[in-house]
Symmetry: C2
Subunit: 190 residues, 2 copies
DNA sequence: TCCAAGTTTGCGTGTCACGCAACATGTGCG
DNA sequence: CGCACATGTTGCGTGACACGCAAACTTGGA
């Protein structure tokens, strides 16, 4: 990870992802087709072929940020103090992980209002359920293959998704507040 | 709906979807790329161009069955008796809707073990949350825009997904049983 | 300084989604 | 009954894309 090579690779990946999201936001939900691979690559300072070494579709590139953040949710839960009850640990982990830094409203709105991007983001979000379920299983003293941790992880991920959608509509409170309210509807034994 | 034209259209859609799924299962998870549009169209007895009038990607065609069934879950809930408590109504609606007829094991396994198909199925499944949330809101006397019905719908959909995965692993009971066990972990006020 | 591993890039190929316009097949009306 | 009209189907052409391959280039270590 501290490898210079690896870091540079990570930087390239991030540059492409950022450029892709920026261009997508510029074009708006209706103009996704206008965001050409050539433009993304140029904006990121790489060749189209290199872009294609990192991502195999525009959607994947645009949603890379979302995907990376979601993937780390399990680690965030593991970082909570050991004695903390499950509900509290999950809630605090989610709030910390998804409000620092606060998500980019324009980017999130772009993704949520474009079916193709929404599908990709969904996939990324759901992939994150597996590590989250593992972390939940550890904390609850259950087996990761069991139904409970997986159903709970799915419910938590769903709540985060719903909270994100609500946060985009005008008049909703801070993301922190919406997240807590959404999570309060998820069943978690104490 | 009883329109001859509409029925024929629906039949065509189903023929294409069925053919696509069948070919995909034949090739196995690793050979998705070998399922060409040309083959799907030919197997369904239509031209490639017509296939493309119904679906805009192979993944969409292959997952059409899943998508159609998921989309109707809200209606299944509405069909439950009015006085029934929410938890019971949801559980029975889900079990009835997803076990009659029993899902195709091979097809489900194919979809669940192919990332690209899994993504598409996920999208379809999540799209079904909206009508489900609406039906839940009706039954619970809540507003559809509120957090509770949407979070609950997401949790229910997640539980069904997890149940499907478990059902595929050897030694799990009937789909009916697994579904009920998964749903028992979802919080629903009585 | 020089080598080996890894990364970027250009090119070629096969596939695909979709607009467009002609064609066929039902549908409803006089 | 037959004629226009609407709707579904098809072939063709175009633009874009993902990816295999091999060459050029960069980086880190001996």
């Amino acid at each position: 990870m501290a490898d210079l090579r690896t870091r540079h690779k990570e930087a390239t990946r991030e540059a492409i992802g950022t450029a892709a999201l920026r261009l997508a936001v510029e074009q708006g939900p209706s103009g996704l087709a206008l965001v050409r691979v050539h433009d993304i690559a140029q904006a990121a300072g790489v060749s189209p072929r290199t872009y294609n070494n990192y991502f195999s579709s525009r959607e994947e590139a645009i949603c890379a940020f979302q995907a990376d953040r979601a993937r780390l949710l399990g680690d965030a839960l593991r970082a909570r103090p050991a004695g903390e009850p499950l509900r509290e640990a999950v809630t605090e982990a989610v709030v910390e992980h998804f409000t620092r830094p606060e998500p980019d409203r324009a980017g999130l709105r772009m993704i949520m209002s474009t079916p193709e991007l929404e599908g990709e983001a969904l996939k990324a979000f759901t992939m994150a359920e597996a590590p989250l379920a593992e972390a939940i299983a550890e904390r609850a003293g259950a087996v990761a293959d069991d139904l409970f941790p997986q159903v709970t992880a799915a419910a938590v991920a769903g709540a985060i998704r719903v909270a994100g959608r609500h946060w985009l509509s005008p008049g909703s409170g801070s993301f922190d507040t919406v997240l807590r309210r959404a999570l309060s509807h998820v069943h978690m034994p104490e």
